[in-house]
């Protein structure tokens, strides 16, 4: 009998990350993450070893997220700063942010960064987050999204370029001033 708990504990943060990259909302992402694992729990017998189990799991996460967005009719959901400043919300980790000034500045940068991310397309954003934050390789993302690796690489480059442009416009740059 398959022991579901270790499997759940091992993958939950990453599944949550994948879902969050689409929904950009913690509460909704937690709900959809539970739906993903419920689906996996119920359909575990139907899993065929054509792909890795983690690929199958993350693919379900992507599909459930897209279904959720379709259901709610929120194709382009904007960040809500109030929701993001919750108890377990992450803070953008910038090096040497140890004093209060740096923390304030870090939060401002974080807001701009989140806003910049929300301006990407869903696919660009999810590819960027999966690669940048969740540490997934291009071939893993390609398997999850069922798209060729070169499309994923192109989308990632476009996302990085667009993000830098937005950040440059909104934050300025010491070296350029």
């Amino acid at each position: 009998m398959f022991d579901f708990k270790p499997f759940y504990l091992k993958h939950v943060q990453k599944v949550f990350g994948v879902v969050y990259s689409y929904l950009l909302n913690q509460e909704d992402s937690e709900e959809v993450t539970q739906d993903v694992f419920l689906k996996v729990f119920e359909e575990f017998d139907s899993f065929r070893n054509e792909s890795k189990i983690s690929t199958w799991l993350y693919r379900i996460a992507v599909n459930q997220s897209l279904d959720f967005l379709r259901r709610k009719g929120r194709e382009k959901r904007r960040f809500q700063n109030t929701e993001l400043s919750g108890d377990v919300c992450s803070v953008v980790h910038l090096s040497s942010n140890t004093n209060a000034d740096n923390d304030i500045r870090s939060n401002e940068v974080k807001k701009v960064y989140e806003d910049a991310l929300s301006q990407l397309t869903e696919e660009q954003r999810s590819i960027f987050i999966m690669s940048n934050e969740l540490g997934m390789t291009i071939s893993e993302i390609s398997g999850i999204l069922e798209k060729p690796s070169n499309s994923i690489t192109t989308a990632k480059h476009r996302a990085v370029k667009k993000l830098k442009e937005i950040l440059l416009t909104n934050l300025g740059n010491n070296e350029k001033n």
Binding site: L9, Q34, S90, V109, E133, L134
Partner: protein, 89 residues
């Protein structure tokens, strides 16, 4: 004027984190309660459907029985009528 960004921060987007950290154990506990809730709802649904099916079947069998009784008595009446007709003839 907005805040300025250091060049190394801007260039290295790997420094940024936006996905919140969650507690796997808390999520697991929530998952267990969602799963139990769902399973009790499906049990309730199955028993409700079974109950409705039983009532419908019972009503249909009852009405079939009534119909066959009516048919039997009308056949008997017809038979009596025919007998009488023959006798009277």
């Amino acid at each position: 004027m907005g805040i300025e960004m250091k060049n190394e921060e801007y260039n290295d987007l790997r420094n940024f984190r936006v996905v919140p950290e969650i507690s796997p154990n808390e999520m697991w506990n929530k998952f267990q309660s969602v799963k139990n809730k769902k399973s009790s709802v499906s049990k309730w649904l199955v028993s409700s459907v079974a109950a409705v099916w039983f009532v419908v079947m019972w009503i249909s069998i009852d009405s079939l029985q009534n119909k066959s009784q009516e048919n039997a008595s009308s056949f008997y009446e017809d038979l009596k009528l025919t007998d009488n007709t023959i006798y009277n003839d």
